[in-house]
């Protein structure tokens, strides 16, 4: 009895914690998606709008540039006055030092994004560095990784906020960064047999999920008629063996290129277990 009481008590305590975790706001944080910018339709208004969404989203700028005092609050402060003041600051020795005007401001903002420690606003440096080192991440490097078009969009947004006509160039088709295939997420891979069968349209020709299709041979009880290896071969090289009464060249020949190994495994496992 003691054992049971102790176990029940402990489980009850656990359930209280679990219940509490379940009543709090439930947010799933997905990795940022690589978006290809449609340069054909992007005018300067579009650039400004893109810059704003990057500033508040992928760029994660508002994590620090807010009213909490970690970094200058760029959304609240008077940027029209601030930018020229920064250029005149004797501590500023960067690429736009000694220059004036909108183009100089563009250069200043660009530099502050790709080389944040080039100039640190007084009071916002890393602790103990006497404002010589910025805590801000380099924006074109991981983890933020904005590309040049995106950086220009953020500059356009900030210039617009400062009441300046943006000076950044509009992107051309050649500028568009196509996500690196090797580092991208790759095509969506089905994670269940149902999704995989749906993805490759198997039920359009075979009688699966009640489709009653008869273009391809019935697959009910296929596990009793074919081995795993033969079934795999039949999917990857369908013309090698044609079932009696059916024609060649109907089934796609390129599943070997299209399917991932895991999708093939899911489909084969599913088919082998189909009842008669």
């Amino acid at each position: 009895m003691t054992f049971l009481r102790v176990v029940l008590f402990s489980v009850a305590v656990l359930l209280v914690f679990t219940g509490f975790a379940n009543v709090l706001p439930q947010i799933q944080s997905d990795p940022p998606k690589e978006e290809i910018i449609d340069t054909g339709s992007l005018d300067m208004a579009g650039m400004i709008s893109l810059g704003e969404s990057l500033f508040k989203g992928k760029g994660t700028c508002t994590l620090c540039h807010n009213g909490m005092g970690r970094a200058p609050d760029l959304l609240e402060m008077n940027l029209a006055e601030t930018f020229p003041e920064r250029l005149k600051d004797p501590r500023y020795k960067g690429v736009a030092a000694g220059k004036e005007g909108p183009k100089a401001i563009e250069e200043y903002i660009h530099e502050s994004m790709v080389d944040p420690s080039a100039y640190v606003v007084a009071g916002f440096g890393k602790k103990g560095t006497n404002d010589t080192e910025s805590p801000m991440p380099t924006i074109n490097k991981p983890p933020v990784e904005l590309n040049e078009i995106e950086i220009n969009a953020v500059i356009a947004f900030l210039q617009d906020r400062a009441g300046i006509e943006p000076t950044v160039p509009l992107p051309s088709a050649e500028d568009v960064v196509v996500p690196d295939e090797s580092s991208s997420e790759g095509p969506d891979v089905a994670t269940t047999a149902e999704d995989a069968i749906d993805k490759f349209g198997c039920a359009a020709c075979h009688d699966l999920f009640g489709s009653e299709a008869d273009t391809g041979p019935p697959l009910a009880g296929i596990g009793k008629r074919m081995s795993r290896g033969d079934l795999m071969d039949a999917i990857l090289y369908p013309n090698d063996t044609i079932a009696e009464g059916y024609e060649a060249d109907i089934m796609p020949q390129d599943f070997a290129e299209q399917m991932s190994a895991s999708e093939l495994t899911l489909i084969v496992d599913y088919l082998l277990n189909l009842p008669e």
Binding site: T2, F3, R5, V6, V7, F9, S10, V11, V13, L14, L15, F17, T18, F20, A21, N22, L24, P25, Q26, I27, Q28, S29, D30, P31, P32, T60, L63, C64, M68, G69, R70, K126, K127, P135, M136, P137, K141, P142, P143, V144, D180, E181, S182, S183, S184, E185, G186, P187, D188, V189, T191, T192, A193, S260, A261, S262, E263, T265, L266, D269
Partner: protein, 589 residues
Amino acid sequence: MKKQTLHVSLGLLAVLLLVLIPQYGFAAGDEVAAVLEGAPKPSRLDYPMIWGISGRTVVWSMAQMHLFLAAFVLSVPLFSLATEFMGTVTGDDRFDNMAHEFMKISMAAYSLTALVGGGLTLSLFLFYPQMMGYMLKVFRGQVLVYAALFGFESITLYIYYYSWDALRRGNRKWFHMSIGLTLNTIGLTLMFIANAWATFMMSPAGVDPATGAVTGTIWEVTRNPLWNPLNLHRFLANIAYGGAIVGGYAAYMFLAEKDPVKKAHYDWMGYTSNFIAILGFLPLPFAGYWLMAEIYAYSQQMGITAMGGILAWLFIIQAVLIGTIMMAANYYLWSGLMRTDRGAHYARYVKYIAVVIVGGFLVWVTPHTLLLTSQEIQQLGGTHHKLLGPLGIMPAKNTAVNLMLVFTFMSFQMFYRSSRIPTVSWAKAGNMFIVALYVIGCINIVGAGLYGYITPTVYKVGASVPQVVTTLTIIIGSVIIDVFRLRGSKPETVHWGRMSERSQYALFVLPVAFTWLMGLMGYIRSSLRTHWHVYTIMKDNSAEAYIPTIGQAGNTITAITLGFMAIMVFVFWLSRLGATRQDETEAPS
């Protein structure tokens, strides 16, 4: 005495050598040519799908279970060595028996830890082959050092356990403790190495930031920015965790035993374990601050993701858990006042302490942003309550936790005092001094908290430093005064076993809450990397690269905790089975 010194010196020398072996290993690593190939860039197709199983959940479960077990088998020898030492110093055999009893339990848990560790390695290679390939490339021969140390750990553990009775008395005891010290040093080194792997993934060092190519020595990779803060945090947490689990075991035995002598033994064991658990627990928030401060220093983004971003709500759950631990520990201590006849004298202060503990807990769980419907937000005029909103930010939380720690310590001090009557002439003056220390200290903690409201956010964390210093000053100062004040005191009888059954349930709350809390903090720590295997170096392109919701995480942590509890029940049962003897007179059937 000379022999004792020699034994201790030999033990320490052995320990030093063991600490230096990995150091030499790292030094040798300097000469290894840098691996210039960068970090792999796996696409989604590079993550094997096996029977539709969620690879991440498998790895998460195995890693967390391994960590629970490893924390237990690492903490028990620490706990045992400390109690063995206390037994030697005080000459009280109860300490020695308890230490021995617990080593017996850890023996069964040890093989299970290795088993789950093997499962974890296998699942990592199975589901994340590219990531593991890169980690091996980065840490090179260190895994071999780890494997060798694991072997040494096993040998030392067996020698430590099986030589217990042979080296129990006199100078031999010091030799035995030297073996224990060696065992713990190897155990801690193992943990530090594993910590280096985990923290490298969070704050990589010794690799090219652009490509991930290995440019540094193994030592540079190991000594990454978050390594030492995590080492300290886990070391302290292990002490607290070991104490909590032993306390839970003692509580169960107390409830199950009918024999008053054994009941008294397990009551004493429960008290001592709780003492050690809280001792390890008290400095833990400060180690946590250091870890978080280093996270901010390494990457402000990562820090904000934890404290102000998607994971911020998890710290409310953490507050609930730590508050639960504090309330349970205090309740147990207050119940303990009934063990002494003078306890009633101190019991009258309990209600005031309870107000502070519960009040502190409520402040800690008050969120900054409230969960409201749009209609409620309209009525309230925002998501922050006008009066309660200020309780949601750091200065209030820091003030609350420091006051809770101070008053938890006061509960301990009351029990300690209830069993002794001071005889020194300055006893009253000393007491007044301690009272003044508490009063001035509490005013300072509250004052520093209020200062936190009028200073910019960046300095709020800094404002917590004087609070921490004050808390430690109160604790250390009053311990020192009490030690001298109670020197030569008249001891009062402590009626071990004179405890309510209800109080023992408070001891169960501790291991359950500690285990769940460890799971939660592990989830937070891993999630800080967001969608990176190795932060900013190697992206996680798997289908499961997202941070799960708090509810999903909570459910997973509960499932793992239940599994761990089942294993612990099995381990305790095994150790009792080992001590069960068939009656000699029982006829064979």
